[in-house]
């Protein structure tokens, strides 16, 4: 029992600390990109306590449930959304010494569990009994279901090369530093098609985690707040938390699949479990940073263009890529 609790507590702590830092960080990054400062006052040095103040405030806010909302679903949706991304952290290998659950179908489990996100978004949108929310929920459902396909196809490409569904095994086989003599043995350097796969993967996870240019479900200038429109206080904070957790989850998955997970880029130098955790989080956070960078730079796509990109470009490309990778593996 105690072991289960510890296993549950570690990812939760990581998510919570990360969310507080990332929300503050995103505002600082946005500030940097936009020639301004971002939070400066709260807590002293560069407003480091900003997210804590926000969180404490959100706890105090009134919990509004619209009269005509479907009460149970409305209350349940944010928690379900968070639970979905939280549960998926179980199979992420944070370091050589720690993984929540060493199951052999890790990748499969992760993709299955994150699909619940879609459901909770529809639930939230429908239960709010608000037209903007409904539109946001519908958009989100279409978007996430569609982009699941290229994500899975690219993950499959990696699995094909790695030969395992267990993320720990996938990471372990990327140890060492002898691709072309100097590069780390990360999968992205193994095979040219995996570079293409990574690009497709990254675009898809942008869409999966609702980031610009694919943030249509909550696009402020069109749908006010999308499925979050009617939520206030803690329930809304849960959405935010789930969204940031989702971002981290998918980035960490990307780091595991393509960038060697907890492996150090310098071979044995700075290796070991503690450094492994450091490298792993660094890689994940770098991907998160790129997502934020994109968010504050690009405009937003329209809903039909989004679908066009997915079904007409990414999906065929990812499957062709899969076949080519398979051929490469057979030949070399």
């Amino acid at each position: 029992m105690a072991a289960i609790l510890i296993h549950a507590a570690i990812p939760l702590t990581i998510i919570l600390v990360y969310a507080l830092v990332a929300i503050w960080g995103e505002r600082k990054i946005a500030g940097f990109i936009q020639d301004r400062l971002g939070p400066m006052r709260v807590g002293g040095w560069h407003g480091w306590a900003q997210s804590i103040a926000d969180l404490l405030k959100l706890i105090q806010k009134e919990d509004i449930i619209p009269t005509n909302a479907s009460r149970f679903l409305f209350k349940f949706a944010p928690f379900m959304m968070f639970a979905a991304s939280y549960a998926a952290f179980a199979v992420i290998p944070f370091s050589s010494a720690y993984i929540g659950s060493m199951i052999n179908i890790g990748v499969f489990y992760l993709l299955a569990v994150t699909s619940i996100l879609t459901l909770s978004v529809i639930m939230a949108g429908w239960a709010s009994n608000n037209k903007w929310s409904l539109l946001g929920g519908m958009r989100s459902a279409a978007q996430m279901v569609s982009y699941e396909v290229p994500t899975i196809a690219t993950v499959l490409t990696v699995v094909l090369v790695a030969g395992s569904l267990n993320l720990m095994t996938v990471t372990e086989m990327q140890a060492g530093n002898d691709t072309l003599g100097f590069l780390p043995n990360w999968l992205i350097f193994q095979n040219p098609f995996l570079i293409v796969a990574f690009i497709i993967f990254f675009i898809s996870i942008l869409a999966e985690s609702h980031r610009v240019p694919f943030d249509l479900p909550e696009s402020e200038s069109e749908l006010v707040g999308g499925y979050q429109t009617e939520y206030s206080g803690m329930r809304w904070a849960m959405f935010m938390l789930a969204e940031y957790a989702d971002m981290l989850l998918l980035s960490l998955l990307g780091a595991t699949l393509f960038f060697g997970g907890w492996n150090s880029p310098f071979g044995d130098f700075m290796g070991g479990p503690a450094w492994g955790f450091f490298w792993f989080m660094l890689k994940g956070l770098l991907l998160v940073f790129v997502m934020m960078w994109i968010r504050w730079t690009l405009p937003r796509y329209r809903v039909d263009q989004l679908m066009h990109i997915c079904w007409n470009i990414l999906i065929p490309l990812s499957f062709i890529n899969l076949v080519l990778t398979a051929l490469w593996e057979v030949i070399f």
């Binding site: 505002r27 103040a53 926000d54 405030k57 806010k61 939520y231 206030s232 206080g233 809304w236």
Partner: protein
Amino acid sequence: MGMLDKKYHDSNIIIVGLESALNWARKNSLWYEQFGLACCAIEMMATAASRYDFDRFGIIPRSSPRQADVMIVAGTVTMKMASRILRLYEQMSEPRYVISMGSCSNCGGPYWEHGYHVLKGVDKVVPVDVYVPGCPPRPEALLEGFLKLQEKITGETILEKKESEQE
């Protein structure tokens, strides 16, 4: 506020500590409702833009009233708009505050005399916490308004009723 109210009425140290922490959180995370009415809205945007940068104080816009803490009534409130402002105010979740920005929403401003369709002061429909004078107020003035609101929040208590509500 039943039991808690009686038990800890005399400034218990834990309660005071908790209270100041909560007040600190509330005053440092004032998310404003993103809606502008007239000229003042342009100055409000300027305040949020790079030079004046609202975000330094942790003030960011939210487009849904449910997630907003403070409503900036930025501009002239007309009779047609008054009921909508009331509704927006009602949609906001407690604790909520209102800043009346500019002379028009303070008292009707230049439209005070013959403005048949102008509401002479938004305080006729919603309670206002801070009035910012000016036509339109400079961004510095709006920031000052926010600092005043922060002062006001610092003095709030969760257990004792506000002076205004005691009657």
